[in-house]
Point group: C2
DNA sequence: GTCCATCGGTTGATTTTTGCACCACCGTTC
DNA sequence: GAACGGTGGTGCAAAAATCAACCGATGGAC
């Protein structure tokens, strides 16, 4: 075979199901993908895809070699990981993946502190809602908020850190307005991905009426609740830290998920990974009460909570 | 990793030990290899080779990823093999590997017959002294003359066919000359790879003196013995078929090796491979007496041996 | 039905890769 | 010591792969 890259393109198309989809994933023009696939087909002397108007679908021949392409992909990923793992220099890159909310609302100052402490480490922060794939070395370390159960893929190591609670929040200004003017009613501000308001959030002291306001991300959600558009459910480490917000009177905090730090088996012994791992675990431990929702003091001076 | 081909180049260099050596194997300019390797090193952020004046030698980092590159290579080979194995058309290519002597001196007419019988099969005959690698699909079927023991790599299937004997030959013309002129002595014609003349070939009836004549291939060896330069050891299927040659009087035939037909586990069920395999086995069976050296009739009409 | 997004396919311009012709260097051989 | 065959390294021109901008077709939303 005189081009392994053709197999890489084949795999991308097989995974995405379309040439165009593969092309964006690969970061190349779709005509390139087209040509490389037909090149591979010509070399093998077999049709690998059914060229449907709706996309590329694997033929039996394509199915048969898919697992080998996947195996090559895994090898190539592991290859990068191993080289990275060998690197015991403090100097060098370090990719950390975590959910956007944790980054922007809580840990960014700690990341800043870490870069000050170790300026020679080139910290790359990748925030995404989706769980980033450590196996393919999209990241060297991942901080995850796990909702259900954590099933660790092979070769991955996890440390369970901390339970995270959430509660129902409202703008203080808006709360006062409601108290003074009983006609004024609150509405739910819901993030689409979270679904409808859970039953535990219902509160006898506060009537919530009208259709919910839907937002797509936490930034909008925060803006909306700050602007006094209604009430919303937030992780306590977000809501409790925001001076303009208060928990809706009578609301309890509820278990939301558990924080984990994940590392790859090959890279976890690397100096940079170990260093960051220990650092961030220590920092998160400091937020223990905040994350679990036990740090909230009704009404009183919230300023003391900020670090 | 955005170029699996770089890994392919890395592997080629690691195997050959030099950039230039790899370049000829890959069929590209050596500067290309140079650039691809440094490209890979840059992407991984690690030195893979020690750049010695005598060649490229793997660093520990390079050693560590070598097995993954090999694994990718194996996957890529198997990928081609699988696609080929799926192909149940009679029409298509078929690569057969065998030692040059067998091809040129015995089986070529049978190959000709096969292509006449199945003109739609694109027969590619690869003759080489080295055992061709079936696993990497350099060939779909190999006919081998095995001298020692056959240890089959995994996934390869072999059929034991026939013992091959060899004997000591001389030009009939030269033999007569010696008989008439006792001063005239014979010399050994030796093929380098075969080493010195074995003890069993010694013959009390024929004095062999002087330094041996060394040749590098069988074609030269045949020319030399035909020209009456001396005596030589040949497989019986070569010597007995040549009307101008005779076994040295009193010489016995000795076991030389065993013929095997090897196929890859994945491709052996392919129509073309099965067809050729059965055909050539049948043909070789016809040569049974010839191969084992039992067909030789002293002096008498050798013409009857040719098919 | 219309609109719109997405799909694959094609073609000419552009960028990237590759090949070629060199160089310097080292060890062997004559 | 000179010549030679081997090694890696380096500009520059040619070749090849890629990009960008199209096209027609399809399928779903409205």
């Amino acid at each position: 075979m005189d081009s392994w890259d053709d197999i890489r393109f084949f795999l991308a198309v097989a995974r995405s199901g379309s040439v165009r989809g593969a092309s964006v994933g690969l970061g190349v023009n779709h005509s390139t993908v087209l040509r490389r696939v037909s090149n591979l087909e010509a070399q093998l002397g077999a049709l690998l895809f059914e060229k449907l108007p709706s996309g590329y679908k694997l033929t039996p021949a394509g199915e048969e070699i898919l697992d080998l392409a996947i195996s090559m992909d895994e090898d190539s990923s592991l290859l990068q990981t191993r080289v990275f793992a060998r690197d015991q220099n403090l100097t060098g890159p370090l990719r950390v993946a975590l959910p956007p909310s944790l980054a922007s609302e809580l840990l960014m100052p700690d990341f800043a502190a870490f870069t000050q402490l170790h300026p020679e480490i080139e910290l790359q922060i990748a925030t995404s809602y989706e769980a980033v794939n450590l196996t393919t070395r999209q990241a060297d370390l991942a901080i995850r908020l796990v909702y259900d159960q954590l099933t660790l893929p092979p070769h991955l190591f996890g440390t369970r850190l901390q339970d995270v609670h959430r509660s129902v929040y409202i703008s203080r200004e808006f709360q006062n307005r409601i108290l003074n003017n009983p006609q004024c009613s609150a509405r739910w501000i819901l993030k689409e991905e979270d679904g409808p308001a859970p039953s535990w959030a219902a509160n006898p002291d506060l009537e919530i009426g009208g259709p919910p306001i839907n937002v797509s991300d936490m930034a909008s959600q925060l803006s909306a609740v700050r602007a006094g558009m209604g009430v919303t459910i937030l992780p306590c480490f977000v809501g409790d830290l925001d001076r303009s917000l208060a928990r809706v009177a009578g609301s309890t905090s509820k278990y939301y998920g558990t924080l984990w730090v994940l590392t790859h088996g090959e890279t976890r012994k690397t100096k940079r990974v170990r260093l960051f791992s220990e650092f961030i675990k220590a920092r998160i431990a400091l937020y223990s009460a905040l994350l679990s929702g036990e740090a909230y003091i009704d009404d009183a001076s919230k300023g003391s909570l900020t670090k």
